[in-house]
């Protein structure tokens, strides 16, 4: 069957006009009559016992409507890993003890923000300081203080992967190297700070609008922490100003707004500041990585031993998933006869790290790809050739993890070699200039049901009407990446109607079909796309009989849905308009609308993901060897995201990912003092790349057809955030001889390596 023409088109986002005119609403743009303003009191200490809290003066302040502390709320811990209840380690407000600077201690709501702020200042808290642990090395040292009493040695979770005979393979290896790497924390830095607005309803029900990428998860965890049935909590989102993994958990302000709204009977809104976000917000894990690899002398990979400690901060957050995926992406790109991963998620007294675009993979790939480049150099093999020799291919099996059902990695390597001018440029090196490579693989949604949902991972409800329009209801979550458009493209392709005839009802846990796990793990296009295709198929099953009976068709005929018509594929003239067909189908249904639901949950797809993307990226840099400043001149990317549904969206993901990867490699860092206080809490000092820092790019799509994906599509969102940092690292090494083993690359480190600073 030919692919409908709308698949692959660069359809501009349907919410674009609202966003460019200022009409698009974000959570902080909402207000309700009688709304109260909430504020959080946070711990100034990284690790301390709370010995006394007195809120009486705050409560007495005129205009203050509620003040709560950890003692006032149901003593129910929460965390995204419901499958492992002991991993749920967080409370909205600290009870007895604070574990990082910024840990929430109390919340107030008042008639205006200034009054709420003054009330915070009237809350008296006394602390007894405890030893502060700020690195995984300190945390795992003998006799270290415990961040959580239950976690021995401060290790909250261990993940092991072990296949092949590691010792035997290392024994066989001609060449072995061991390296250690350290990667630093960075932040999502979504432009919209977190905000939520809760409004109590009749009975003990509550509605919450929140800037989230996982409304269903927020709904469930909010219900359990409030002690209410899930059905009493309704979570909605309006536009979300970016997430990148930083908005995928229940957060204290969401709980506090809901809890206080139920107590006061008034709507309560919380909005964070940028300083809150930078100082206390979620972040990408810092990691300490040990990697040992063995190769044959002709460049065949034999074995890898990969040991990682993730700096999880004070709570698990999405750290367990990052610990799993770091191990998966330590070996995803290449065929290893033997691989061992030992990952430990470690508590420290820092703001919790969590999911961030790539989810453990950027760190794993920084180490793995950098080491691959080191091996290539040592063995005297071109880095692309070395990768080609070992590259994963379609049909390859990763024991106990996955079977690769589509893989364009080798093609990506060849393409990027070509478009970057790799061979010529490496043949004629110029002083201060360098070319480097980094590669990636990523998941298209997760298989592992850590949230322990009883519902399908994705769901869609499709309705069609006799005026030829349709409605799609889904809990899938557009946080800027574009599924509100892409999913309608898929439905338009299925039903053969124009995209602007599809109304979207999205993201209201009370009215859209259960469930959707949210936007993370690059899962939405594949999983929700499949749910839509199933629902559309059921609708088509309802419409097809109309054509057969009206036209007296032989049962062997195939019916097509294209160009707003339903017709006999072999004889397109025989058919009728889509609207007419819906009208006629309705006639026989005793008033029942044409509605169908579709679902998707990956089954029998291994442990990790139903599909994997692949790609390779080359960075071209120029280094000023007098100042150490690095200018990324151009990025070349070749990637396999299956069949792109919306080319412009895929390009947008690629370019945005390069911005993040470039910031990760060269500029962004969260800097902390020895008391665990973050020092750079403004965008002046948390430096993410501006328009002037962004290099031009050139890219090539390597089209594979992913059998598990809708129209052959797979992920294009996160994988691309992985290769940029290792590619830049390699390019800087080629330009200067400085090899970064501890990110970020700074001008100073370059000059030290060049011997220009002692």
């Amino acid at each position: 069957m030919k692919t409908p023409s709308i698949i692959g088109q660069s359809i501009p986002r349907l919410d674009g006009p609202a966003k460019v005119t200022g009409r698009a609403l974000y959570t902080n743009d909402l207000s309700l009559p009688g709304m109260l303003y909430g504020k959080l009191l946070r711990s100034p200490l990284a690790h301390a016992k709370i010995t006394r809290i007195d809120v009486s003066r705050a409560k007495a302040l005129p205009g203050v409507k509620d003040v709560i502390t950890g003692a006032d709320i149901p003593q129910v811990k929460y965390g995204n890993w419901r499958l492992v209840p002991q991993s749920q380690d967080e409370m909205a407000l600290a009870v007895d003890k604070v574990r990082f600077v910024g840990d929430e201690v109390a919340a107030v709501c008042a008639i205006d923000a200034d009054t709420a702020q003054r009330a915070l200042e009237l809350i008296e808290v006394e602390y007894e300081e405890l030893p502060v642990i700020l690195s995984v090395e300190e945390a795992t040292a003998e006799g270290a203080a415990l961040v959580h009493d239950e976690s021995e040695g401060n290790v909250s979770l261990v993940r092991k992967i072990d296949y092949g005979d590691l010792e035997a393979m290392f024994a066989k290896a001609d060449y072995i190297r061991e390296d250690t790497f350290k990667v630093h924390p960075v932040q999502h830095a979504y432009m919209e700070p977190c905000s939520c607005l809760a409004a109590s309803e009749e009975g003990d029900r509550v509605s919450l609008w929140t800037s989230t990428q996982t409304p269903y998860i927020v709904q469930c965890l909010l219900a359990s922490t409030l002690g209410l049935p899930e059905n009493n909590v309704r979570v909605m989102k309006v536009q979300v100003g970016g997430g990148f993994g930083g908005k995928m958990e229940l957060r204290p302000w969401e709980f506090c707004a809901s809890f206080m709204s139920l107590r006061t009977g008034r709507p309560v809104k919380f909005t964070l500041t940028r300083a809150d976000e930078l100082a206390f917000g979620r972040r990408r894990h810092a990691m300490s990585i040990y990697s040992k690899v063995g190769f044959s002398k002709d460049g065949k990979l034999l074995a890898k031993d990969f040991q990682v400690m993730l700096d999880g901060g004070a709570y698990n957050a999405m750290g367990p998933t990052a610990t799993f995926l770091c191990g998966t992406f330590g070996n995803m790109l290449y065929n290893y006869p033997a691989y061992r991963y030992f990952g430990r998620h470690v508590y420290t007294n820092k703001p919790p790290a969590s999911a961030m675009r790539g989810f453990g993979a950027p760190q794993a790939a920084f180490a793995a790809e950098t080491q691959m480049n080191m091996v290539a150099e040592e063995l005297g093999i071109d880095p692309i050739d070395l990768r080609l020799m070992n590259a994963m291919q379609t049909g390859d099996v990763i024991p106990d993890v996955a079977t690769i059902s589509s893989c364009g990695f080798k093609e990506s390597l060849e393409k990027v070699r070509q478009i970057s001018g790799w061979d010529e440029k490496r043949g004629n090196p110029k002083p201060g200039k360098g070319l480097g490579i980094g590669c990636f693989s990523f998941i298209s949604g997760g298989v592992f049901n850590w949230f322990n949902t009883k519902y399908n991972f994705s769901a869609a409800e499709v309705k069609v009407f006799e005026d030829g329009t349709a409605q799609l209801a889904t809990m899938a979550c557009d946080i800027g990446q574009g599924p509100d458009t892409v999913l309608r493209q898929i439905l338009a392709a299925e039903l053969g109607i124009p995209i602007d005839k599809i109304r979207l009802i999205s993201m209201d846990t009370a009215t859209t079909p259960k469930a959707d796990l949210g936007t993370w793990g690059s899962r939405v296009t594949l999983m929700n796309g499949n749910a839509i295709i199933e629902a559309a198929g059921k609708i088509k099953d309802m419409l097809r009989p109309v054509l057969f009976s009206e036209l007296d068709l032989n049962q062997i005929h195939d019916v097509a849905f294209e160009d707003e018509r339903v017709f006999v594929r072999a004889n397109p003239k025989k058919g009728m308009g889509f609207a007419e067909c819906v009208y006629k189908a309705l006639r026989g249904r005793e008033g029942e609308p044409l509605t169908a639901r579709g679902y998707y949950t990956p089954r029998n797809k291994g442990l990790v993901s139903p599909a994997f993307s692949f790609g390779a990226q080359v960075a071209e840099v120029e280094v000023d060897t007098g100042t150490g400043l690095i200018r990324v001149e151009k990025m070349y990317t070749a990637h396999d995201c299956g069949v792109p549904i919306n080319k412009m969206s895929v390009e947008g993901q690629l370019e945005g990912a390069i911005q993040m990867g470039l910031g990760y490699a060269l500029m962004e860092n969260l800097i902390m003092d020895d008391k665990g206080r973050t020092l750079n809490t403004t965008f002046l000092d948390y430096k993410m790349p501006t328009a002037e820092d962004m290099p031009p790019g050139e890219s090539a799509d390597v089209i594979t057809y992913e059998p598990e994906g809708p129209y052959g599509a797979k992920e294009a969102g996160e994988g691309l955030a992985i290769p940029t940092a290792p590619a830049i690292t390699h390019a800087v090494h080629q330009a200067t001889g400085y090899r970064c083993m501890e990110t970020p690359i700074t001008p100073e480190k370059v000059l030290r390596a060049l011997g220009k600073i002692k």
């Binding site: 100042t627 060269l666 800097i671 220009k756 002692k758």
Partner: protein, 294 residues
């Protein structure tokens, strides 16, 4: 988070400004761009009860240049105005550069050069070039008017010799003689929205034989205040500098600097960059001066 409360006065003349400054002497600040002041007020670092706005005062935004007299920048002239002024671009390229790369477009549209100086951040981007151009400030108060050399102006981070009740009415910059070269170079990890980690400005005037008559070098972000480099200047004056002397003069600049470790860079990186940038600034300025550039 809202600011603590205060009163805003919006006078129309300099006289009214001075009256208001006098009347509220104990707790008053001048407001123009507000890009530094309001941030400090929000953090609680400053809490004046009165703000006197210069934004409606007539005549303070003027930028004028006259051959022989030099450049006069009004106390409320915006950074972006100064950066785009053709005379500034032609004759004071170091200042024009500072005014077109510092902070952001919006901040440059709001903030003033005088404010940048009065705020007295060690990293103030306009300070180093203005020091190199030999600028002075015209300060007025109710009793009169005085001229303050910029070299005497800064006394510490956030501190200047300005008295309460005084305001900067204008910045005066001498006319560069023929055979002058000048420039300003700054370094930061990111292109924009940044505070310079190191800034070096230079000004060189040659005689007909190519010897240096006058040299001024100034550094930003590497000492408690923006500073001149008298030792390096003295080494160059009377000489026809080659690469070796330039390197030694740059080393003298390093000796003048007193950098610290902070978020943006370490002291040792800053020292190395003073050396590197001073060499570049001197080389570039000399080339301009030798090229006959005015």
């Amino acid at each position: 988070m809202a600011l603590p409360n205060f009163q805003v006065h919006q006078p129309k003349t300099v006289e009214e400004v001075l009256d208001l400054l006098g009347r509220h002497r104990s707790s008053v600040k001048l407001l123009c761009g507000g890009t530094d002041l309001l941030i400090k007020m929000r953090s609680g670092a400053q809490a004046p009860e009165h703000l006197v706005s210069l934004n409606r005062v007539a005549g303070l935004k003027t930028i004028s240049y006259a051959a022989g007299d030099g450049l006069v920048i009004g106390g409320a002239a915006r950074i972006s105005q100064v950066g785009k002024n053709p005379d500034v671009q032609r004759l004071y390229p170091g200042l024009a550069h500072a005014c077109s790369v510092m902070a952001t477009v919006q901040i440059r549209n709001m903030g003033t050069v005088a404010g940048n100086l009065v705020n007295a951040a060690p990293s103030a981007d306009t300070a180093a070039p203005l020091l190199a151009y030999g600028a002075s400030l015209v300060a007025v108060e109710r009793g009169g008017r005085r001229q303050i050399k910029l070299t005497d102006f800064f006394t510490g981070p956030g501190l200047t010799v300005l008295e309460p009740g005084e305001m900067v009415e204008a910045i005066r910059v001498p006319d560069p003689p023929p055979r002058t070269g000048s420039c300003y170079l700054r370094l930061s990890a990111r292109s924009k929205v940044d505070i310079a980690a190191v800034g070096v400005a230079g000004f060189i005037n040659l005689d007909l034989s190519g010897k240096v008559i006058r040299c001024r070098l100034a550094l930003g972000s590497v000492a408690p205040t923006p500073v001149r480099c008298p030792e390096a200047e003295a080494m160059l004056e009377g000489q026809d500098p080659g690469p070796e002397l330039i390197a030694r003069a740059a080393a003298a600049c390093v000796r003048t600097s007193r950098p610290i470790d902070d978020l943006r860079a370490t002291a040792s990186y800053r020292r190395a960059m003073v050396q590197e940038l001073a060499q570049r600034v001197l080389t570039q300025s000399l080339a301009m001066a030798r090229g006959g550039g005015s």
